[in-house]
Symmetry: C2
Subunit: 342 residues, 2 copies
Amino acid sequence: MAVHEQRHAREYSGARVLITGGLGFIGSSVARALVNAGAQVTLVDSLITAYGGNLFNIHDIRDRVRVNISDVRDASSMKYLVQSQDYLFNLAGQTSHLDSMTDPFTDLNINCVAQLAILETCRAHNPRIKIVYASTRQLYGKPQYLPVDERHLLQPVDVNGINKMAGEWYHILYHNVYGMQTAALRLTNTYGPGMRVKDARQTFLGIWVKNVLSGLPIDVYGDGLQRRDFNYVADVVDALLLTGADERANGQVYNLGSDEVYALKELAELVIQVNGAGTARLIPFPAERKVIDIGDYYADFSKIKTALGWDARVPLAEGLRETLAYYREHGAHYWEQSQATP
Amino acid sequence: MAVHEQRHAREYSGARVLITGGLGFIGSSVARALVNAGAQVTLVDSLITAYGGNLFNIHDIRDRVRVNISDVRDASSMKYLVQSQDYLFNLAGQTSHLDSMTDPFTDLNINCVAQLAILETCRAHNPRIKIVYASTRQLYGKPQYLPVDERHLLQPVDVNGINKMAGEWYHILYHNVYGMQTAALRLTNTYGPGMRVKDARQTFLGIWVKNVLSGLPIDVYGDGLQRRDFNYVADVVDALLLTGADERANGQVYNLGSDEVYALKELAELVIQVNGAGTARLIPFPAERKVIDIGDYYADFSKIKTALGWDARVPLAEGLRETLAYYREHGAHYWEQSQATP
């Protein structure tokens, strides 16, 4: 699935790897690439209903990974789990903007307290482990210039962005002060097979895919002219594995991104075109979304391109085609037990 | 004590003001200015031994303020205390760099969890309260250019800096999203009567003052060429009160600072000169300090100067003279029960 398959096999064959949020969209995709590379993979996930974990995400690799259902806030089990691991892909997180505003303390516990606990545990019990943290473009808030590079000020627009900012910085600090091997990737909109499609909690593209496949219209907020960049999950997996394997990444923060920048209205049209059917409509911003909307965003990702040779290789149309095909086949495992859209 | 006394009297006379960290160095100085301005002042302080609270700090205004001994982590008492207040000067915090590394979770609880709880409580029970948060230059980490303005990236070098960064941003976010009246000041090295002098937990100037008055040498780390700026506490009080009273400050972050920039070696010489006696010596950086040292720092504080008319008015030599005079008279109340220097 990942682009640099042979390279990943060289680097991860036989390695012991722990993935938090391992039953989630990106975590399970990392797991798939790693078992194909010959790694011994343990997935940690608490399967909180509102989050991204879904056992179906590993239906094709279930007997090749170890699954440990537990919560990263549970310091004692994390202490056991991180020991004797070579790598930690630290992808567990509360990611919903809106949930972080209605329940800021849960967000704080997952994105700050648990992250600090994981780092303290690794420092005490496994200080040589390599840790790659999944951070987010959300830290930048409303861009002051485009494309946004890593020198842009961090001005988060919700509690989730503030807590993720602290979580990311704990990782970098533990490199700077204790010499631990840590790195962080600031992900932009990631999409692909395995993403949460029940609702818009993880990405609006999820509910778009579900709606277009269900014959429902795609709802685009505002005038639909907000521009964004998108990464297909295989490219993100590739970035995570490259970052994990490269010592030059230690202590670094890298943007991910794509040269394909789309206005949301155009993106909706592309989804419909790739699907071969569907409709989209512009609707006014819900008030609670408007206040945290950031307008246009797309990243300058030249830092990781130059440092690690990463690039976004999967064109948006192709990635959407794969995604729609996946949910056409497996959708029932994802949109059952749907909850009220937040 | 504050510079704009008449202005403060106009604005705060009769106002109900809560000060967290109210028995600390800056909190008690704010309290003094406010009771002189005719405000009804309540001080919240938990008197944690290692922190800055000291009942002697209010010996001259004890019968003009209400003292409530409690902890900002105690959400229930905070909920009671913030109600019916007009202003909150939110100065409680864990400020020790080193303690934040040895006990990161206490720092997280005080500087993140409690701050978020205070804001949530105000939002629910007193959304019109004006909140001024004491932030710190420490958020910037090692300066990439000088003087450091508010556009400088935040790159904290210790857990305390990360947690204070989150604490500051919660305040700004609650303005941006909920329209609450909040503002933050990024304080630089603040000194004056009432500062902790038992040890270097709050500022190295504290232990310098104690040592020079005790006939002990002043220890300057490294080559002593690190340059810093310093604010006398009366100027900081002035900035806090101006910020509290001015609606234009809502949602803003302002640096404090001074045009008087001193190398630490020169500062030691000035302390000795103002004191009329004393010695200083250069000693190597302790390892745990070296790793979090930031080199030169001084602020560009033109933003608050332009917006609110604030300036640092007390010259360093004069401020040090006042400080030394205070501790010559009252030192016994500050350096008794001294703890091991961290």
